[in-house]
């Protein structure tokens, strides 16, 4: 099948990526945009490792076709932190031991970002319900729930709203990856997703 050159809006930057119709968003992000923070675990929608935000809502990157999200606003774990500081959720995961091997962490964090945008003071049960689609084989979940709870407290203390990537857009000049193949700010040379 022929590839199509599509424009993906990821973390408020524009990426031109050559993709096949069957390429998933997770694959396009990793191989096309060089944003490898989004992990591919089960690749069947079970583990939630590939969770990203599409127009602010969590979406499974492994079960979303990249062509389907052309023109929509995609946010990945790379777009969460500012240049100088981590997102409160990232800080909380580090401080609370919510991350061990770290493979599932981007998915948990992105799911939690979506939760805290709509519920600034979730109960532990609400946190557990929200992350029910994310699997962790290391932590036993207690410290992940602690981290989300802690982040919610921090956010409430620091600011009355959850910072969005826009609000924290102290971005570096170039996107993650090899600077040599980055074009103008936020625009990469056409890359190839897939095999």
């Amino acid at each position: 099948m022929s590839k199509t050159l599509v424009t993906l809006n990821v973390n408020d930057a524009t990426y031109e990526v050559a993709i096949k119709p069957q390429d998933t968003l997770a694959l396009a992000l990793r191989d096309g945009c060089g944003l490898t923070g989004t992990k591919i675990g089960c690749d069947m929608g079970t583990c939630g490792c590939c969770t990203v935000l599409v127009d602010g809502e969590p979406a499974l990157g492994c079960l979303t076709l990249a062509l389907e999200v052309e023109g929509r606003r995609i946010q990945t774990i790379e777009g969460l932190a500012g240049a100088e500081r981590l997102h409160p959720l990232q800080r909380a995961f580090a401080e609370c031991g919510g991350s061990q091997c770290g493979f599932c962490t981007p998915g948990f964090v992105m799911t939690s970002v979506a939760l805290l945008r709509t519920n600034k003071a979730p109960s532990r049960d609400e946190i557990k319900a929200a992350i029910a689609g994310n699997l962790c084989r290391c932590t036993g979940y207690a410290k992940i729930v602690d981290a989300v709870e802690h982040a919610a407290e921090q956010i409430r203390d620091e600011d009355d709203s959850v910072p969005t990537p826009n609000e924290m857009s102290e971005k570096p000049e170039t996107q993650a990856g090899d600077k040599d193949d980055a074009g103008i700010h936020g625009r990469r040379q056409p890359a190839t997703a897939g095999r």
């Binding site: 690749d43 492994c62 029910a132 689609g133």
Partner: protein, 335 residues
Amino acid sequence: MMILPEFELARPRSVDEAIGVARAATDGFDYLGGGTDLLCNYKWGLNTNPTVISLRHIGELQRMADGSVGGGVTLAAIEKDADFLHDFPVFRRTLDRLASPLIRQTGTLAGNILVDTRCIWLNQSLFARKALGKCLKADGPECRVVKGSIDRCYANYSGDMAPVFMVLGGTMRLAGPDGERTLLLRDFFALDGIRRNVKQKEEIIVSLDLPSDAKTLRASYQKFRVREAWDFPELAVAASARMDGDRIEELSLVANAVASIPLWMDEIAAKYRGETLSDATIDAIAEDMRKAAKPVKATLLPPGYRKAMVGVMTARALREIRGDVVTEKQSGEAA
């Protein structure tokens, strides 16, 4: 990593355009709703087609108002519709127990109604299926669950929304090459794990519609699954009743996930209309439901256990309808 097979992706903007693309796809096609079922099956190499027609860009399928839900409405959108849940509170519990929050973000109503039948022999990687021997539903000569069956597949129906719409008297609006038609959802399914329903291949589920008097029904959906989040039902029971005091005026029952379709148990329901919903009646209905359910070894749990649990879940559903406080125990404790 699970690799998707090659296919062409069409993204029509209207139902008519989608049907046109489908008719032109002479080598085979599949409609794509949320993709949480179809893309998994494609990754397993199950019954793939060279053309995939996405229905996600068709506004007509996204409408939701007054008990009518478009086929393309996501399960999360239904979950967030306070008016709909107020009118039909049984969906709150149903959705809460349907897949995971992440799957519900993408999965659609029509996708859940049409979720492909599942089986322990079928939902495996190509490597595993080659080693185990292929089954009737995917390129094999006979059913592996009911050996010797060469004309009927016994894979398990695993959707959760259909049984609830059925007991509430829901209808389905289909659009196809010959125009639109409406049918009762209870008449939609066909007892075969491959055929599954009476939908023509090119037809699209435009909406599911609930009658206004469904708002006055009391309903319950009791689902048993191994893992709280994500899992498909090992069995489930949907029930609705219109009560006149403690007397059953109307009763509808569906045994779900114990066959290739949700089973409409009209004979049992008719037998108990007019009866008082006492403990004895509940036990009698539960026993009739248990006897009528004949699960086969297509899912993880043993058929005998699932059959017994149909009675347990029926009793829970009827007690909830009666107004008893029903606590769902953790899976594994339920028996």
